[in-house]
């Protein structure tokens, strides 16, 4: 990807497992598709069809290679497996700013992460589909600025203060979750917070950059599967070096076979 090619000198590079969570159809996969391929598909199939996608994020001092895991639809009937959360260093919990129930669901996922994931996991709460609101589409409204909410409330006379989410104004603003409600919750729980549009691209790269910046240097290691709390080397008998690479067999012994 060109983004990484622009870095001249090699920087320290580390892999980060990032998991996606959120109600179906809030745009989890679309956010990733925008980030990874800078692409958007209007009527995408529910799942992404990939084990995971990777994308580099170049910071001033280091390069983070995100390994982005999609739910593959396993969240639909409460069937995400513990292995999904295993050693994840970051999570993107997505809701739809036009659908209040999706924020409720997002809160549920945050609680689930706090229960199941590694203690140091970086969690970003992301309100997607900003393009359907009056603040959307407009790339200048870039960051997670709470003032955007009050401005739009002021501009739009059809909205009555805080309860804006209860009505669908004639101007076409479909927002039903106020920025303030979500950002207050994010602050309470210590989450990063962004409102994005995967369709237009608003804030998408920013979310991933913010996550990359928030991951503590100490938890970064190079190579796959790193970062698990239990794997930190404490002495010479480290399991880290002792992992067996199954891929070796494919090359070395081919299919000459089972001796039994």
């Amino acid at each position: 990807m060109s983004e990484s090619a622009s870095a001249n000198a090699p920087k320290p590079s580390s892999s980060v497992k990032l998991v996606l969570l959120g109600e179906a159809a809030v745009g989890k996969s679309s956010l990733v598709l925008r980030f990874v391929n800078n692409d958007f598909q209007e009527n995408k199939e529910p799942t992404i069809g990939a084990a995971f996608l990777t994308q580099k994020c170049t910071l001033p001092t280091r390069t983070i290679k995100f390994e982005i895991w999609d739910t593959a639809g396993q969240e639909r009937f409460a069937s995400l497996a513990p292995m999904y959360y295993r050693n994840a260093q970051a999570a993107l919990v997505v809701y739809d700013v036009t659908k209040p129930s999706s924020l409720t669901k997002a809160k549920h996922w945050v609680a689930e992460l706090q229960r199941q994931a590694s203690p140091g996991i970086v969690i970003a709460l992301v309100g997607n589909k900003l393009d359907l609101t009056n603040d959307g589409g407009d790339a200048t409204g870039a960051s997670s600025a709470p003032q955007a909410e009050s401005e739009s409330a002021g501009q739009d006379e059809a909205e009555a203060g805080e309860e804006a989410e209860e009505q669908l104004p004639a101007s076409g603003d479909a927002r039903k979750v106020s920025t303030r409600e979500a950002s207050t919750y994010a602050e309470e729980e210590g989450l990063l917070f962004f409102e994005t549009s995967a369709k237009i691209g608003t804030n998408v790269v920013e979310v991933f950059t913010a996550i990359a910046n928030a991951i503590p240097e100490s938890s970064l290691k190079t190579g796959r599967g790193a970062g698990g709390a239990g794997q930190t080397a404490l002495g010479s008998r480290s399991g880290e070096d002792s992992r067996v690479n199954l891929g070796d067999r494919g090359a070395a012994t081919a299919k000459e076979g089972c001796a039994c």
């Binding site: 995971f52 999609d70 069937s79 497996a81 292995m83 399991g239 070096d241 067996v244």
Partner: protein
């Protein structure tokens, strides 16, 4: 939440054990609409892995709902509260700390620091399962650690090779190749020669010796012990070590040569296939549980739909007709009714099917406050530090000569099953009830005592498990209940993954996909990892 009954399914698979999960993966990637259910709120069924809290919930559920799963009589013992189990003698290193702090007794870590497997098993390095994990690209999401040495409990003859204190004093390392035999100072020269002859015999290639084959087969029908004595004059004290390489769960006299010899061959031929010094690997974080979860995820990526906590209440099996290509009507535990062309599951997941005949074994899981470092030697140059080891206690060493052997698998913290400074001891003996549990307890106590006073049990769980021993010699097969309803065999109780399982899954896949897919494409998938680097 969406509904599962919106459209009919090609296949409904009930239960998320490894067999079912691999079948789901194969079918979902062959364009089948797969619904994969589990009556439990966790993946894995009898192969599940648990945190301490989850284990406790599981125990309650097993005892409250007998017959719902292939387990019974589960019991957890938390040893922490007994103050007399504190280490009596502290070594110089810890005594310093003892003065300042009131309590340095080893403690259990947080519940989630543990991943305890109900049916721990390892994979030989040439296993067909490894082949399909590679060809399906699923292995990239798994981490494997080496299984190191095999040990035989030998309380009568302390280990001459053991230079350090620790568990190895009362265990002899089983020689796994000729170099080991040479180096072993516990074996007399005469015995070494007989052992070498046997090892040479079974390692030689079988081709071009048809005339010997008939004779060889005749020999193999006798008990393994007789086979070793009469053909190779292997002395008795070396017969148990060889038996342990076969992982036979029956006593020596009940284990036939036709069972043991091919399995010892498998053991010897596996060493080195994935790197020097080991012949088997274990998946991190609860063994098979992690493999099947990765399989289910890959299956979901292929389009299969997953629903946990969803059991099957009743089945109405109809006929394929012009009106319906989905003759099986399945009523789910949430009241929903779904239709499918094929239904397949284990006897515990499908109601009103007759229970298959099962063997019952006693199993235990112990969290120990020691690393058992001496049991995990690196035995070849460049070999990885093993994370798992196998200990065999012949019945006579536990004061019960008629009993089958007890096997303990010790997992170091490198398996991810437990925190550092602790280990998990998985015990198994093909003898159920109090008798079996007494033997297991005795074996675990012996190991802890041999290791030293700092080694104590912090937590343990025991249970009986129903399933299938591989000793019977009949390969696992899927039972046909009707043209559309099939039943998986009871779960394997083997300590190593049974390779015939892969053939069974492939056969089931062939039966379902028919001629729509080329059969040599079984479990061979394109990469589904979207890499944007190019």
């Amino acid at each position: 939440m969406e509904s599962l009954s919106e459209h009919p399914w090609d296949v409904i698979i009930a239960g998320t054990g490894l067999d079912q999960s691999l079948l789901a993966l194969a079918l979902s990637r062959s364009g089948k609409k797969v619904l994969h259910l589990d009556q439990n709120s966790y993946y894995g069924g009898s192969e599940a892995a648990f945190s301490l809290d989850e284990a406790s919930e599981w125990m309650n559920s097993v005892n409250q709902h007998p017959g719902r799963t292939p387990f019974e009589d589960a019991k957890i013992i938390t040893h922490q509260d007994s103050s007399e189990s504190a280490p009596s003698k502290a070594d110089s290193n810890t005594s310093e700390r003892t003065q300042g702090t009131p309590d340095v007794r080893p403690k259990l870590a947080a519940s989630r620091a543990y991943t305890l497997s109900l049916s721990p098993y390892f994979l030989y390095t040439r296993s067909e399962l490894i082949s399909i994990l590679i060809s399906s690209k699923v292995y990239r999401q798994l981490e494997f650690m080496a299984v190191g040495s095999w040990w035989i409990h030998s309380p009568e003859h302390p280990n001459a090779d053991s230079l350090e204190l620790g568990a190895t004093r009362l265990f002899h390392r089983v020689p796994g190749n000729r170099e080991d035999v040479f180096a072993d100072s516990n074996i007399s020269m005469k015995s070494k020669r007989t052992l070498m002859r046997f090892l040479r015999h079974i390692s030689k290639p079988q081709d071009g010796e048809e005339q010997d084959e008939a004779e060889e087969n005749k020999d193999l029908s006798m008990p393994f012990a007789d086979y070793l004595s009469s053909n190779f004059s292997v002395p008795q004290d070396l017969q148990n070590p060889l038996l342990s390489l076969s992982l036979s769960q029956l006593p020596q006299r009940d284990t036939s040569a036709s069972y043991a010899v091919p399995r010892i061959k498998r053991h010897l031929a596996s060493i080195g296939a994935l790197g020097p010094g080991f012949g088997a690997v274990v998946s991190k974080y609860g063994g098979g549980s992690e493999i099947l979860q990765v399989g289910c995820r890959a299956s979901a990526v292929g389009g299969a739909v997953y629903a946990l906590d969803t059991g099957i209440q009743s089945i109405t099996d109809g006929e394929v007709s012009a009106e319906s290509e989905h003759p099986v009507e399945v009523c789910l535990s949430d009241g929903e009714t779904v239709r499918t062309r094929v239904l397949i599951g284990s006897a515990w997941d499908l109601p009103s099917l007759e229970q298959p005949p099962c063997t019952k074994v006693a199993r235990s899981i112990t969290v120990a406050s020691s690393t058992f470092t001496s049991l995990f030697p690196v035995t070849a140059e460049g070999a990885p530090v093993p994370a798992s080891t196998v200990l065999m206690f012949p019945g006579e060493t536990l004061g019960s000569p008629q009993s089958p052997p007890v096997y303990l698998q010790v997992h170091s913290s490198d398996t991810g099953d437990c925190p550092r400074q602790q280990s998990i001891i998985y015990g198994s003996v093909a003898l159920s009830g109090p008798e079996g549990h007494t033997l297991l307890e005795r074996a675990v106590d012996r190991l802890l005592q041999a290791e030293g006073p700092q080694a104590i049990a912090l937590w343990s769980m025991r249970y009986n498990q129903l399933g299938r021993l591989s000793n019977s010699g009949t390969p696992p097969t899927i039972q046909t209940h009707s043209p559309h309803v099939f039943r998986f065999p009871p779960p394997s109780l083997d300590l190593a993954f049974e390779d015939q399982t892969v053939d069974m899954i492939k056969q089931a896949w062939v039966n379902i996909v028919g001629d729509e897919v080329a059969h040599d494409e079984f479990m061979i998938f394109e990469d589904r990892e979207g890499t944007s680097d190019d």
